[in-house]
């Protein structure tokens, strides 16, 4: 149907793009992860597993990785708890205001990530909005120090930033539920609560899985929120990677950690895709 020339013109550029900007960097990273650093801070091209061994041997790395997973898990959980009811309301009860409310969910995504992170800094800081208010109403007599520079601050900020990412897929999957299924359920004697748990929720699982994956994966690799608001106790794995590639100049170890993270994320994406397929019926 199309000439070979046309096919070449449309397929070669994207393939080249992927090869140069995705596959090649990954390949380089893969190579780096087996190399090592000489005492003189030069890269030694020797093929060893030292970096991967260090990942497990040095507690700072795997502890930070575990903390990152724990933070990402909490962000995922809270995003779902906040996002699902909103998506459900939007889809089933918003009526004429649906489009307006939908836009209001989207708008925060247009605001720079940095601005939103800094906003939380001014709210949570020791002379921030929240602490000032609490002292003003005499609920506390000195600033609460766990608010900022803590895993709490990181979880709060990431939840705020990534909740829209969970709302959108959940909303989309709720919108796809034929309304006559809800009517059929009522018709067969199921109360609204029974209908929710037996029909609506099961059919929205693909959206929940997609939303959960977004929140978890995006949080797991985040480094700005922990850098700005995490303090020493809220450090995440990406901060270590940044340090290793930057100030520490230990690219081999940084590459090994990055690849480890990549393996986790890719397997999660595979798992979530299978789960979504299992719960899709159309």
């Amino acid at each position: 149907m199309f000439s070979r020339r046309y096919k070449a013109v449309v397929t070669v550029p994207p393939l080249a793009w992927v090869a140069f900007f995705l596959l090649l960097p990954y390949l380089l990273m893969f190579c780096y992860s087996f190399w090592s650093l000489s005492p003189a801070q030069t890269i030694v091209h020797s093929w060893e597993l030292t970096n991967y061994k260090n990942l497990f041997r040095k507690s700072v790395y795997w502890e930070t990785l575990l903390r990152s997973i724990w933070i990402a898990a909490r962000v995922m959980l809270f995003s779902l708890l906040l996002g699902y009811p909103l998506a459900y309301f939007l889809s089933f009860y918003a009526g004429k205001r649906k489009d307006l409310l939908y836009q209001m969910v989207i708008i925060p995504l247009w605001v720079s990530y940095l601005v939103r992170a800094y906003a939380w800094k001014t709210i949570l800081g020791s002379d921030g909005v929240l602490n000032t208010f609490l002292q003003y109403v005499h609920l506390t007599n000195r600033p609460l120090d766990f608010l900022l520079y803590s895993p709490f601050a990181v979880v709060l900020t990431l939840t705020h930033i990534y909740t829209p990412f969970t709302i959108l897929p959940i909303y989309a999957s709720l919108e796809h539920i034929p309304r006559n299924l809800v009517e059929a359920s009522h018709d067969l004697g199921a109360s609204p609560v029974q209908t929710f748990w037996k029909v609506i929720f099961p059919l929205s699982i693909p959206g929940v899985v997609a939303g959960a994956t977004f929140a978890f994966v995006l949080s797991l690799g985040d480094f700005l929120a922990p850098m700005l608001l995490g303090g020493p106790s809220g450090i995440m794995i990406s901060n270590i990677v940044v340090t290793l590639f930057g100030a520490a100049y230990d690219w081999p170890l940084g590459a090994a950690i990055s690849l480890g993270l990549l393996v986790i994320v890719v397997s999660l994406l595979f798992a979530s895709e299978r789960l979504e397929k299992k719960w899709s019926f159309s």
Partner: protein, 365 residues
């Protein structure tokens, strides 16, 4: 047979059958924005009856069904089932079940789980659920597909599952919203017969919505013909065909010739045609079925007789519909035995008793 042809005869047929009344629809009205979708609908459904609501799309038939099911609320009027007022209850408290147009089977549940749904939410004991689901699937011949998901079975099979899912709850009234419209013609005819015999077997009253007059005629005990939100006539298929109350009914059900004439002292004149009628003076409208017009053979009867020129013949299998034009321009549709008419000029006749006076249907939006 001398047939009485007063308009009052059609009013008698709107009374319910002799069986006790199951559901009584009292003066239901419904508006969408400014438009009246249903106006003052009054209808009685008898126990075990197969009642069809027939109407064109936009006539309000689905809205009426949805009001009875509880998915929509009426602007005014009441629904009573025995001594229980139905229209104030939410749909899940009404002893009414629905078979939806697109079946609305739950895609994440198997055939068996779909059928069990109503019993599960009613928290019936497991053993009872298993038994009743098995019986229901047996009844619609779907036992072999019990473990399949709805997407893995055909449209006709989904239709049966939807029926089983509704009937397993032993509702007092089953609502069916154009359940056969998605099936192809052959399967559709087969399902019409099956559905009718199933209804007889279970003895549950069926309220069936369709736009297909032939389907309504084949299946129903009574037909309620709805036009632009108002009931035109409620009667048995035979009555509605042979004694249409209005011009609209006569034209909607089967073919007919509408003859518009003027009555003067007991004689109606309609172009070249004239015959005796027991009607007051003034304009009158008559419905004359094509099969009641014959090619004239003798000249002794009291039949109305007219000469006409054959315009067109349409083959319909056992019969043919012939369009013939009288000298004054009036075109009559005549049903003849297959084989058609050889000559171009024919003499047609009909018994004046077969010309049924009908009310002019007022123009509505």
């Amino acid at each position: 047979m001398a047939l009485q042809t007063t308009p009052a005869a059609s009013a008698k047929t709107t009374e319910p059958a002799t069986r006790p009344t199951l559901l009584s629809v009292r003066n239901i009205a419904k508006n969408f924005r400014q438009n009246a979708v249903l106006r003052d609908i009054a209808l009685e459904i008898a126990e075990g009856e197969f009642l069809t609501i027939l109407g064109e799309s936009g006539s309000g038939k689905t809205t009426l069904l949805r009001i009875i099911a509880g998915f929509e609320s009426a602007a005014s009027g009441e629904l009573w089932m025995g001594s229980e007022r139905l229209d104030v209850e939410p749909p899940y408290r009404r002893r009414v079940n629905t078979v939806f147009q697109n079946y609305a089977l739950f895609p994440h549940l198997t055939v068996e789980q779909n059928v069990a749904y109503g019993l599960r939410v009613a928290r019936r004991p497991d053993s009872e659920i298993r038994q009743r689901v098995a019986e229901a699937l047996e009844k619609v011949k779907m036992t072999a597909h019990a473990k399949k998901k709805p997407s893995k079975i055909s449209g006709g099979q989904q239709q049966r599952v939807a029926l089983a899912r509704a009937l397993v709850n032993r509702p007092r009234l089953l609502l069916l919203d154009e359940p056969l419209s998605a099936l192809d013609a052959n399967l559709r005819r087969q399902m019409q017969v099956e559905l009718k015999s199933l209804q007889r077997e279970v003895g549950i009253a069926f309220l069936f919505v369709t736009h297909d007059q032939e389907e309504a005629m084949v299946m129903s005990d009574r037909i309620a013909l709805l036009r632009s939100g108002e009931l035109e006539q409620v009667a048995t298929p035979r009555e509605i065909y042979s004694r249409p109350a209005t011009a609209y009914v006569a034209q909607f059900i089967g073919h007919t010739n509408l003859l518009s004439g003027e009555v003067r002292s007991g004689i109606v004149r309609c172009g070249a045609l004239s015959w005796h009628v027991p009607l007051p003076d003034g304009p009158a409208l008559f419905s004359l079925r094509p099969e009641n017009i014959r090619v004239s053979t003798n000249t002794t009867s009291n039949n109305v007789r007219v000469t006409a020129r054959v315009l067109q013949q349409a083959f319909h299998g056992a019969t043919e519909l012939v369009r013939a034009q009288c000298a004054d321009g009036l075109v009559l549709v005549v049903r003849t035995a297959s084989g058609g008419l050889a000559q171009e000029e024919v003499c047609l006749e009909f018994n004046p008793a077969d010309a049924i006076p009908v009310r002019q249907s007022p123009a509505r939006n």
